[in-house]
Symmetry: C2
Subunit: 334 residues, 2 copies
DNA sequence: ATGAAAGCGCTAACAG
DNA sequence: CTGTTAGCGCTTTCAT
């Protein structure tokens, strides 16, 4: 069943049917006739043919490390919600396979999206290396970046205020009276979650005239398991006795608390623990985790909106944005 | 840059270029020439035009309640992984909006996928009502169902062995010596996670000649928050003193443990708690949760494979399958 | 093996 | 306002 069939059944030309379909003025009696045939046949115009003519696919690509962490799935939820509302669909690609990261995967994914003829892509970079920046410089599909500003490109970015978030939560620990605060974070190559959060930690200490001790800083991975081993590493270093630990991610905090428990420390009585992200479980954990909340669903909606803005208004300059945060004071830090 | 341009640059006809592109035998010198032009120009054939001719979009739709729970995101990961490998892309739609469920959403989503011209859909039903079954009866796009067999349709399904999983974990509790085991589950309208898991619980008791007490059975929701309130409801009913609680989902178990803690019970010393799903956090929880493990990533790969089988071989009868499970004995049950 | 031409299902330009 | 026609970019007969 195609437009030609409908035209014949209604006794008009294909063009007229097309006009009815696209709400273009048509003699009322014709419109009525066509509408009736449309209803009777349940005809749906072929989307692909339309796409071929209009050069629009109403497809948006999203590239991210993984959808598994809580954080990401909330973002996807937000992106999807907004996109659906605006008539677009989401094509997902994940770049983190079996825990392995590589810039090759990212470029492949980016290339794939072009090939797939998406109208735009939401890119959540994993590792930012010169090759990717170089490649992105002449990426000719509308693109926005989430979590990191891609220096050297003009790609609009939506980032999180990780520096101030980290600073705030450490300040909270300090306000609580802690004098010996350790940090379990991620290597600096991860700018936002790694470098910025650590910098927030250090600056909070500095501003309170507290010493910064490299022995109290661990740079590990971002999984729960790695949080566990980082905590072990920290606690077995000389005879440190931190009264509080700031973990760069809730997941790391979980791993940390898991280790502390096993090692016989009580949280928060012996050691306070805080994180960032406010994972779904954090408020139900034992003890409930003090952490930083970001509105990830909204984040998804905003980044999707930024992209649609570029797509529908290519000359407009889309500005970078930064998500705010709020602190959730709960039982894991006293 | 289109195929005509390439043809001109290479001094051959469009047809020849098309043949080179599709690995159809062509005089070697032509092929070489075309290949060179292809490389020089970086030309990529227009996918949409190809789709229009071939009537294949290489698009697969997936409809599910939400991607947020751990379980689902792992499945998506598996689906996506397999699909990418086979050259297909995934279009996601979620039907659970702001905690609301409705069959209207599901039908809309199903309709949307057809309109999107996907080649097949992976359907994770939420609530199965007669209208949806009726609608599905003449759904003409290849479709498979995950988690539930859709009775009244001939749609192949991949399900979980929830009945035996529940039975096994309750048996484990019994083997541990528990005589008073309560159940916090989901309403029966959810066949697999609700009805089947409860039936597994009851049958395990029966087979051990233990009484089934309605007061010890709570039918609640499937969120963490609801797990919390269900636990409260259970523990405040008369003067029950269950020594163990079987929660139908890990998430419910988290909520349950959270309540128990707040109410002054120790897990597992006072009350053992077990769940089903083996969420990412379960082994790191305090105490580590005893639960049932399903391989969700593999599940995703299998369901995707079942769908591709139908798509590529429409006459073949694809058989229903059931995922196995294994029990993870950890610290939350003693 | 190759090229000319038709056609996939639709929209848009052009006459009328 | 309507119908005819061309054309989107590709694949696929069908002669050659």
């Amino acid at each position: 069943m195609n437009i030609k069939d409908i035209a014949q059944l209604a006794g008009v030309s294909k063009a007229t049917v097309s006009r009815v379909l696209n709400n273009i003025k048509v003699r009322p009696e014709y419109k009525e006739k066509v509408d009736r045939v449309l209803k009777e046949t349940g005809y749906k115009p072929n989307r692909i043919a339309r796409e071929l003519v209009s050069k629009k696919t109403k497809l948006i690509g999203m590239i991210m490390p993984s959808i598994k962490p809580n954080v990401y799935s909330h973002v996807v939820e937000g992106v999807n919600r907004l996109l659906q509302k605006k008539g677009y669909s989401l094509i997902l690609t994940t770049t983190l396979e079996f825990g392995q990261q590589s810039s090759k995967h990212e470029v492949e994914a980016l290339e794939f999206m072009k090939d797939r003829q998406v109208e735009g892509v939401i890119y959540v970079p994993q590792i930012i290396c010169p090759e990717i920046i170089e490649y992105l410089k002449d990426y000719d599909t509308p693109i926005v970046s989430l979590t990191e500003k891609l220096k050297g490109t003009s790609i609009p970015a939506l980032t999180f205020d990780d520096y101030n978030a980290a600073k705030s939560i450490v300040q909270h620990l300090i306000d609580l009276g802690h004098k010996d605060i350790a940090f379990i974070g991620i290597t600096d190559e991860y700018y936002a979650t790694g470098f910025l959060r650590k910098k927030g930690y250090m600056d909070a200490l500095k501003e309170n005239n507290m010493p910064i001790d490299d022995d109290r800083i661990i740079n590990g991975g971002f999984t729960l398991v790695e949080g566990y081993s980082s905590a072990r590493e920290l606690m077995n270093k000389g005879n440190l006795k931190p009264t509080a630990i700031f973990a760069a991610l809730d997941r790391i905090a979980y791993g940390t608390m898991s280790y502390l428990n096993k090692a016989g420390y009580r949280v928060p009585e012996d050691i306070s623990v805080v994180g960032i992200d406010d994972d779904d479980l954090s408020s139900y954990y034992t003890p409930p985790l003090t952490t930083i909340y970001y509105d990830f669903v909204k984040t998804g909606e905003i980044i999707a909106n930024m992209l649609l803005q570029i797509i529908n208004d290519r000359q407009v300059l889309v500005e970078d944005r930064k998500m705010g945060f709020s602190i959730r004071k709960r039982g894991s830090a006293i």
